[in-house]
């Protein structure tokens, strides 16, 4: 068996763990690109061909990459660009403009950003872009100047493409796509979106100028592939500094994946979502439990991580409520049961609560109405209850109609776990009728 070079002084276990964390975190959090996209070979080929033609032949193109969140749209584009830029001919011949619909919320900002990214602002020098109109004319002029054989192609990447469609008149999209359809500077417009109906958002003129190329990233991933992905994501690479540790780790990962309980948990995740991002979240939680005392990954880790992932946000919030507030929530639950989800107001809740106090309570005080009101308002602040749309602000607070945004099962779960919950309250909550 070949020993590592640093055989005389094996790395201390602490350092190994640090290295492991560094390596895997980079992979899970930084979105390090895989060397090959297994699931989307065809799409990769299509996009690569398209962008290559823009870069090399100066052919203008427009394309949309559509796929649910976490399906690897950005990864696909990045992979394609990485492969594309390996070609020498392309390297110097491609300008990139990256826009994001969440950042460039209107065309004015987007135009400024384009100008900046194309390094055109130093053409303008000290001249301040007076108006939006000037900026648009300026940019169109710039793009018009070009012709397809001499001008450097420009790649426009529009992330969250659907948000650009909400801009006024869709001016930016119209102009970009118009350039891509006319003999001006060669451009490739690549839109990334998760909306399947994105084309319906486009105005008819804009739509007509779009080439109607859509690359769909719909993963038809099977569970075995998913499991394989988990294994490969957790495995350490061969060039890990401490080889012995890496081998141990990898074999532990292997056995970990074969464990039945782990498989069950992963299957549950898989059933819920095929999204890699949520998988990475889960693995990240597992990874954070790895330490010197716990140097290998164990099924318990993933169990705990999964519990964190699936825990219900609202019932967690209930744990932090005061007993009075919890009582009000239970009263609301009973009202909901009785009136079949009809809205309620403070008075109704208070009455329900008072009835409970009269009937069975021996652990609760009878609070003053303002105190109960305060608790009620706190629930509203937490958005556990919300006023229904129609009720105007004019009505007195006591009579404002509210709805509970909690499901019964969430309340039950919270009751189970509520620390030191008085038994009578627990019973009141569990009982079918108030």
């Amino acid at each position: 068996m070949s020993k590592p070079k640093s055989k005389d002084a094996p790395m201390p276990i602490g350092d190994c763990i640090t290295q492991l964390h560094k390596c895997l975190r980079e992979r899970l959090c930084h979105g390090q690109l895989p060397s090959r996209l297994e699931a989307s070979e065809a799409q990769h080929k299509h996009l690569l061909g398209l962008l290559t033609r823009t870069a090399i032949h100066g052919e203008s193109n427009s394309v949309l990459i559509v796929g649910p969140r976490g399906s690897g749209k950005t990864a696909l584009l990045k992979c394609v660009l990485r492969d594309l830029l390996q070609e020498k001919e392309v390297q110097k011949n491609l300008l990139q403009v990256q826009l994001n619909g969440l950042l460039q919320t209107d065309d004015r900002i987007a135009l400024k950003e384009i100008t900046r990214q194309l390094n055109l602002e130093n053409v303008v020098g000290d001249k301040v872009f007076g108006s939006f109109a000037e900026n648009l004319v300026f940019l169109l002029e710039a793009l018009k100047k070009g012709d397809h054989s001499t001008t450097c192609p420009v790649l426009f990447v529009l992330d969250e493409f659907d948000l650009f469609a909400h801009h006024k008149n869709q001016t930016l999209l119209y102009n970009l796509l118009d350039v891509s359809q006319s003999a001006q500077a060669p451009v490739a417009v690549v839109g990334l979106t998760c909306r399947l109906d994105v084309l319906e958002l486009l105005e008819k003129r804009v739509k007509s100028r779009f080439s109607h190329r859509q690359i769909h990233l719909l993963s038809s991933l099977s569970f075995t592939q998913y499991l394989e992905r988990v294994r490969s994501q957790l495995s350490l690479p061969d060039d890990f500094p401490e080889r012995k540790f890496a081998q141990d780790w990898n074999s532990s990962v292997q056995s970990f994946c074969e464990e039945k309980s782990v498989e069950d948990i992963l299957r549950r995740h898989f059933n819920s979502s095929k999204d890699f991002r949520s998988l990475h979240m889960l693995l990240m939680l597992c990874l954070s439990r790895i330490s010197i005392v716990n140097p290998t990954i164990k099924p318990a880790d993933v169990l705990e991580a999964s519990r964190l992932c699936f825990s219900d946000a609202k019932s967690n919030m209930l744990h932090g409520l005061s007993v009075l507030e919890l009582c009000l929530v239970i009263a609301m639950k009973h009202l909901n049961d009785v009136y079949e989800g009809e809205p309620f107001n403070f008075q109704m809740v208070h009455n329900e609560f008072k009835m409970f106090l009269q009937r069975k309570s021996n652990s609760m005080y009878n609070f003053e109405q303002p105190v109960v009101m305060k608790a009620f308002e706190h629930l509203q602040q937490l958005e556990l209850i919300r006023p229904i749309d129609g009720s105007s602000a004019k009505t007195q607070r006591e009579y404002q109609l509210m709805k509970l945004t909690l499901d019964n099962c969430q309340i039950m779960e919270a009751l189970q776990k509520y620390p030191q919950c008085p038994t009578d309250i627990k019973q009141w909550g569990m009982s079918a009728f108030g």
Binding site: K45, H46, G49, G58, P68, K92, N93, D107, L120, N122, V123, V124, G125, S131, A133, L136, V137, F138, L140, E141, A142, K145, G146, S149, T151, C152, V154, T171, Y174, D178, S182, A183, Q184, C194, R195, L196, R205, S208, R209, S211, H212, R213, L218, S219, S220, R268, F270, N271, S272, S273, K274, F310, S311, D312, K314, T405, L406, D407, C409, Q410
Partner: protein
């Protein structure tokens, strides 16, 4: 224009009316007095005098000669009948090459075209101006005096002709007659500084011609006040043509007789050589000059007064000179072709002069290859003359100095700058603006070595427009309102690869951007639009047309095709020339920007929207002597809709003005737009005859070629695009992605969709709250034997489906109360889930 408006002018008739026209009920007067506030001496305008008339551009008022002054009985209305002159800037750019040289900035042309209102409001007269007739071959006096204009040729919207000096009034006080032959000046060499300046100037003037001859004077104003060499040949030629044409004029007869003494070729040579004064033709010249002595006097005085201006004669020599020293410096090699063209022309053209103008300009297009041969042929001739040699050596010296200077600036740009190609001609036209502006600024800054800085300056500006980045300091200098920065996307370092196989060629052709030779299925519409615009152009009237159709049916393409054909027709003089302007409603941020863009494209002047609107209003409603029709294409008209509709109203109103000569073609998708905005002047419509979008069709075909390429790469069978490929492409583009999306969704997502359907069925509604669906979902989970999952998790599932727009959701703030709707039909979902 504002400054001018502020000056108050008072117009009064001078003297009693000369006569009274009974029919028209107006009095004719001999002169008009214009007194300007703040100026002690009023201007007096007499009939026959030349005047400036308020125009659209402040800097370039119209020039005309008063033929008649008359007013009505009340004396309120004062009118004038005028004979127009046009400035070079008013001549259509496409026609300027016919001139065959750079127009002098102070040069005007006697206007003989039709369709020009000769009656103007006398109140629009600004002041008198001096117009001097210059003889054909005579060079322009080099003066910066803006108040003197020179006329040599006449312009009848088609050709430049030699103008008869008799039509022009003998202008202004005759002083002591001075027999100053302009050609006699250069023999006295000026002091060192002027000499260098002259040399520099010449150096710039010749590249100017080289570029101009080739590139049809894209930057015509730029070389403005430098003499162009091309002039010589053309003028001599047009003189010749004029003599043949207007035989009736006694003056020209005289001239012709004189000219007839020497054969044409000789004459031309003499014309260009100032040294040979003894030749017969110089007699003719002096004779002519004697006749026009009065007008020359002032010029001569000025010439004497300022030594650096005494340059014209040497200018006229430049072509010869150039060829003589050409072998010495590489820089000038580029200029040779055009120069020699002229010589060659002069030799062959004498027999059929009148129609030569166009031939001339076309001949200058001839390739470089001819030049060496011509060089050989021409050199001996010029070297014969001693004096010429003498001057040329001097110039050579100056030029070598200059070259050093240039080399410092840039070596590389030279080829680029002078590379003769028609492409540069087109692309330069924008650069021109920048150059022009640059020049202005520099002049304003008062660079001490004006002439010396000329060449390098023009070089740097040219180079800077080619390279994308301009140093900020430089840009700061050009920061004048009239110089919009013209940005350029950096050009690629490696040339684009050309299509190598037949599929790639097909793909380039199928790209939407490529313009087809013909537009099939659009013949009728083409004909309609063509005849409409053509008739309006010929009549010199205005009109508007509304073209509608669904996107991608070829509205814009058809109009562009029409304009292209019309422009071709205009180029071969079938129809009067016209101006084409295009704006697009989508390409502006605000409807009112339309005014700004129209104005910018019309007279390249930037203004605010309001100001631009008023300027345009004025332009289209005043009976100014507009020389050509403007064709305005307004694309995406519906975007110009405003609450008050003033933009659209104006666009449709201007063409109906009597003097506007504006044809407006509007394009929009909506068929009912005219009704909606209540405009009845709808001339025609383009109904979408094609069922569908041509753009999309092209895209489908393009995709099909790609698919074909892919499949061929796999199987290496014959590469032919079959119907199957087209069908595949169609499928790919139009097949609903929803079903695949559902099929590839996770188990819980699919389950949730089923829960939604189940809940809808239960409720009998197409809408449910999340809470209701959640209960269904839990029930389904139990049925399927899956572990039940929490609210948060199901909410996440639901949000994911909402993000894909398989579901329509309210905002997630509502939590479990948010309402859920399907964005796909229930059948689709069931189908997708069943086949799974």
């Amino acid at each position: 224009m504002k400054t001018r408006l502020r000056v108050r002018r008072v117009y009064k008739w001078q003297g009693e009316p000369l006569r009274f026209d009974r029919k028209l009920k107006n009095f004719e007067y001999g002169s008009l007095v214009i007194s300007v506030e703040g100026l002690p001496r009023p201007n007096i305008i007499n009939t026959g005098q030349c005047i400036l008339i308020e125009g659209e551009e402040e800097d370039n008022p119209y020039v005309a000669q008063v033929n008649k002054l008359f007013g009505d009985e009340s004396g309120r209305q004062k009118k004038a009948m005028v004979q127009w002159f046009v400035r070079a800037s008013e001549v259509p750019v496409s026609k300027l090459p016919l001139l065959g040289r750079e127009p002098h900035p102070q040069e005007i042309f006697y206007y003989q075209g039709r369709g020009c209102n000769e009656e103007v409001n006398a109140e629009s007269i600004l002041r008198p101006v001096q117009v001097k007739h210059l003889d054909g071959p005579a060079p322009f006096p080099d003066s910066n005096d803006k108040d003197v204009l020179y006329v040599k040729l006449s312009w009848d919207t088609k050709t430049f002709k030699m103008m008869d000096s008799a039509v022009l009034p003998p202008s202004t006080p005759p002083c002591c007659p001075k027999p100053c032959h302009p050609n006699s000046f250069p023999s006295s060499p000026p002091a060192a500084a002027p000499a260098s300046r002259r040399a520099n100037r010449r150096a710039i003037s010749t590249p100017g011609t080289a570029v101009i001859q080739r590139a049809a004077s894209a930057d015509l104003r730029y070389a403005g006040d430098t003499m162009s060499t091309g002039k010589v040949g053309l003028e001599a030629e047009s003189l010749h043509s004029a003599t043949k044409l207007s035989a009736s004029k006694c003056l020209s007869t005289k001239r012709r007789n004189a000219a007839a003494r020497t054969p044409g070729v000789r004459k031309r040579l003499e014309l260009c050589s100032p040294e040979k004064k003894s030749m017969p033709f110089s007699d003719v010249l002096s004779q002519l000059l004697d006749e026009e002595l009065e007008s020359e006097v002032e010029l001569a005085q000025r010439l004497l007064a300022s030594p650096p201006q005494v340059l014209h004669p040497t200018y006229s020599l430049t072509p010869r000179r150039k060829m003589h020293r050409a072998p010495a410096d590489t820089d000038s090699l580029f200029q040779k072709p055009s120069v020699f063209m002229m010589n060659k022309l002069s030799a062959c053209e004498t027999d059929s002069p009148p129609s030569k103008t166009r031939a001339f300009s076309s001949m200058t297009e001839v390739d470089n290859e001819n030049s060496p041969m011509l060089l050989v042929a021409a050199t001996p001739r010029s070297s014969k003359r001693k004096s010429a040699q003498l001057v040329s050596t001097r110039i050579k010296k100056q030029l070598s100095l200059l070259d050093d200077q240039q080399n410092k600036d840039s070596n590389t740009e030279d080829e680029e700058e002078f590379a003769p190609s028609n492409k540069t001609l087109c692309s330069r036209s924008e650069d021109d603006k920048l150059i022009h502006g640059d020049e202005n600024v520099l002049v304003k800054e008062g660079r001490q070595v004006l002439a010396g800085s000329r060449v390098p300056r023009s070089k740097t500006t040219l180079s800077s427009t080619r390279t994308p980045r301009i140093t900020p300091s430089k840009k700061a200098a050009t920061n004048t309102p009239r110089t919009p920065a013209t940005p350029i996307i950096p050009s690629r370092l490696m040339p684009a690869r050309h299509p190598t196989n037949i599929l790639e060629v097909a793909r380039t052709r199928l790209h939407v951007s490529s313009v087809p030779e013909s537009l099939p299925c659009r013949e009728q519409e083409f004909q309609d639009i063509y005849s409409f615009v053509e008739s309006k152009i010929i009549d010199g009237t205005g009109g508007c047309m509304y073209i509608s159709g669904v996107p991608g049916t070829g509205k814009t393409a058809t109009v562009h095709e029409v304009i292209r054909c019309l422009q071709n027709a205009a180029n071969i003089n079938e129809i009067p020339s016209f101006r084409f302007i295009e704006i697009n409603g989508m390409k502006m941020t605000d409807p009112h920007q339309a005014y700004v863009q129209i104005l910018e494209k019309l007279i390249s002047q930037t203004a605010t929207a309001d100001h631009a609107a008023s300027l345009l209003e004025k332009r289209f409603s005043n009976p100014a002597p507009r020389k050509e029709t403007t064709v305005l294409l307004v694309d995406e008209l519906d975007l110009l809709w405003t609450r008050k509709q003033n933009v659209m109203y104006n666009l449709f109103d201007w063409p109906t003005r009597r003097h506007s000569r504006l044809v407006v073609l509007t394009i929009a998708n909506t068929m009912d737009l005219p009704e909606r905005i209540m405009i009845n002047r709808v001339s025609s419509r383009l109904v979408a005859a094609l069922s569908g979008d041509a753009r999309r069709c092209l895209d489908i075909c393009r995709r099909a070629t790609e698919l074909c390429e892919h499949s061929a790469a796999n199987t290496s069978i014959t590469r032919l695009v079959g119907m199957s490929h087209v069908m595949d492409a169609l499928d790919e583009m139009f097949s609903s992605s929803y079903i695949t999306a559902i099929q590839s969704a996770s188990v819980q997502e699919q389950l949730f969709l089923r829960a939604v359907i189940a809940e809808f069925r239960r409720l009998g509604l197409e809408e449910a709250t999340f809470q209701q669906v959640f209960l269904q979902h839990q029930a389904l989970c139990r049925v399927e034997g899956l572990q039940s999952i929490g609210v948060s998790e199901v909410l996440a599932v639901c949000q994911r489906l909402g993000a894909c727009r398989l579901l329509l959701l309210e905002t997630s703030r509502f939590g479990i109360l948010q309402r859920v709707r399907l964005n796909v039909s229930q059948d689709d979902i069931l189908y997708a889930l069943k086949s799974d």
